[in-house]
Symmetry: C2
Subunit: 339 residues, 2 copies
DNA sequence: AACGCTAATCTAAACGTTTCGATCGTGTCA
DNA sequence: TGACACGATCGAAACGTTTAGATTAGCGTT
């Protein structure tokens, strides 16, 4: 900018005024300056600007795994929304690891991000600290965090799983295996509550041998399913509480020589774009990813636009059960298949 | 830092020296400073540091669509690699749009990213300018760019498609539909060359009615497939040159009342994690995503480590044909199926 | 003619670091 | 004992912007 100013024989203040439109500058100087900018190929340095202005027009986004299609889609929507608003987004993947998450949030804050969207991991003690020291607005995505009172957008997980399990019960299933991630994040907790609630509403027992834990990855779903299928009295249906794990479930079913839905019914949380067209067509709980991403972006953009003092807004969206053909009715139909 | 210095009754220079270990500072001052840092909760401002140092420890990464599983995986690998190295990554999605890409690259450069990894779009004129003005190292991913001479990691696309098409020909297919994206990006061009080469090697004609263009999205694959299937003499196999489009292909096959592989064989570029387990199990060309991401990251990290003057390095990796059950042999087997 | 008002422009401080060169004790050696 | 080197510390400039406040010129009023 100094060079531009010299070339145009004006002060840097005038150049700045012209670029930002913060003051009127005469036509002749404007022209000289614009010419100089072109000649030199000047580009404003956003870092210097950020330092002075105290804002980077960059936000931080952390998710557990970008390869989980749910997060892929949400990240994509959020990225687009901020792109439109002229913000850059720094993406971090925490790999479901609390320390990694802490490091990454620190890294983002050091870089003076203007805001944070976090699909958190772990118990959120650090998050609490950040939200309370309250220099940047934070919106929590997909996962609430007790004790952290800030903008949030989540799904009504309990209701969604309740509906899915009730659907299985209505089909005649009585022993329904349930594969979950660890309970330190709210969705897993709430989804489990939906499972319990549905069983209880139907007067069925909640049997602990039917509930298996995994660490969110395909391989965990595989192992959990293997355990379920080798039970003495094996379940007739399996519900997987996240979608990378359901791939493992299907592989386990195949490897053990069974088939879905003939021998065992399967449903899971989170939809796949290809579910409609490959067999078995999975019955899933579909999250409104577009809305989730947009709402999260809007909440944050609103804070960034200056609306800092409004009380925390908590949005809860509804999931939708997508009934396809991976779950079969038990009873009458069972005979016809085994015949 | 000023506050820390005051609280510890030292100069800012000493605080800086301690934090960065750039000079020895006596035990007693060290202790006072560390105490002050803890008391105040001081965090070094990375923006100010970047301004002074001329480096942000941030890189820019642009891809066409993060929802394309290939890019999802590559982004994930790259993100991890830079995370390990203490770099942040700014992610941009260009949506296969040249102007968007230009804007985003400018945005990244304004923010003084230390380097750029680009899966480009369009003809790359801007890219050429950037690479030539040469203040930041650029590595090209997945897509080369003629006239731009810089580090690159790509697949041997022609060979990979040659192998896939040859496989179909060996199965007895003679009319093989081919769905491609536009030729302004190198992989589409090279993959088409592989298709041509395979047909010619087998003495088969390249018929233009069998080649359909789409804009990389599922819906484009759908439309292209519809056209292919309504040809007077329809193809017995379809190869899709990217993987979002193959979902559209499968939907079109379903909607038109045919089934794969009984009525029509399908193969595509890029693998899916679930291909093994859902029916039909797609035969695909699998790219070594892990290696691609790591190599790209390594090339850039090497430049960032100071190795600026080495001549551009061009890496070409090999794809792998994953034969599953979505393509069936023509001839003898055909009868037994239709019986 | 002196005055005030407005519009255009400039000067200089500030943002929070890093780093060069200067300063100041202290101990060592001739 | 004076000179000197050395280690520890500090002062201040610099990175490239923004912006408050000062300055200047032009012009209409009284």
């Amino acid at each position: 900018m100094l060079h531009v100013a010299e070339a145009a024989r004006v002060s840097v203040a005038t150049v700045s005024a012209l670029i930002n439109g913060t003051a009127t500058v005469s036509p002749e100087l404007s022209q000289r300056i614009e010419q100089a900018i072109r000649d030199i190929g000047y580009k404003r340095n956003a870092i210097a600007r950020s330092l002075k202005m105290g804002t980077t027009r960059t936000i931080g986004l952390t998710v557990p795994h970008i390869t989980n299609p749910f997060f892929t889609d949400v990240v994509s929507v959020i990225q687009q929304a901020f792109d439109r608003a002229g913000y850059a987004v720094m993406l971090c993947c925490t790999d479901e690891d609390l320390n990694t998450q802490d490091d990454q949030i620190r890294l983002l804050l050091d870089r003076m991000v203007d805001g944070l969207i976090v699909a958190r991991v772990g118990d959120g003690a650090i998050l609490k600290g950040i939200v309370e020291s309250a220099n940047v607005p934070v919106v929590l995505l997909d996962r609430v965090c007790e004790g952290v009172d800030t903008d949030t957008v989540v799904l009504d997980n309990q209701r969604a799983v309740f509906d899915a399990i009730t659907y299985l019960i209505d089909l005649g299933h009585r022993r329904i295996g349930y594969i979950t991630g660890t309970f330190d994040i709210s969705p897993m907790h709430d989804r489990m509550a939906g499972y319990r609630e549905a069983l209880q509403a139907a007067g069925l027992p909640v049997e602990s041998e039917l509930v298996r834990f995994g660490n969110f990855h395909e391989v965990d779903g595989y192992n959990a399913t293997m355990q379920l299928l080798s039970l003495h009295d094996r379940p007739s249906a399996i519900f997987s509480a996240n979608n990378p794990m359901v791939i493992g479930t299907m592989k386990a079913i195949r490897d053990i020589g069974l088939s879905c839905p003939q021998d065992i019914s399967v449903a899971c949380f989170d939809d796949f774009p290809w579910s409609d067209v490959f067999q078995p067509q999975l019955t899933t709980v579909s999250q409104p990813v577009q809305a989730i991403g947009e709402q999260a972006a809007n909440l944050l953009l609103d804070r960034l636009a200056g609306n800092r003092d409004a009380p925390p807004r908590k949005l809860t969206l509804k999931g939708r059960l997508m009934i396809r053909n991976s779950c079969r009715p038990l009873g009458a139909v069972a005979q016809s298949v085994s015949a």
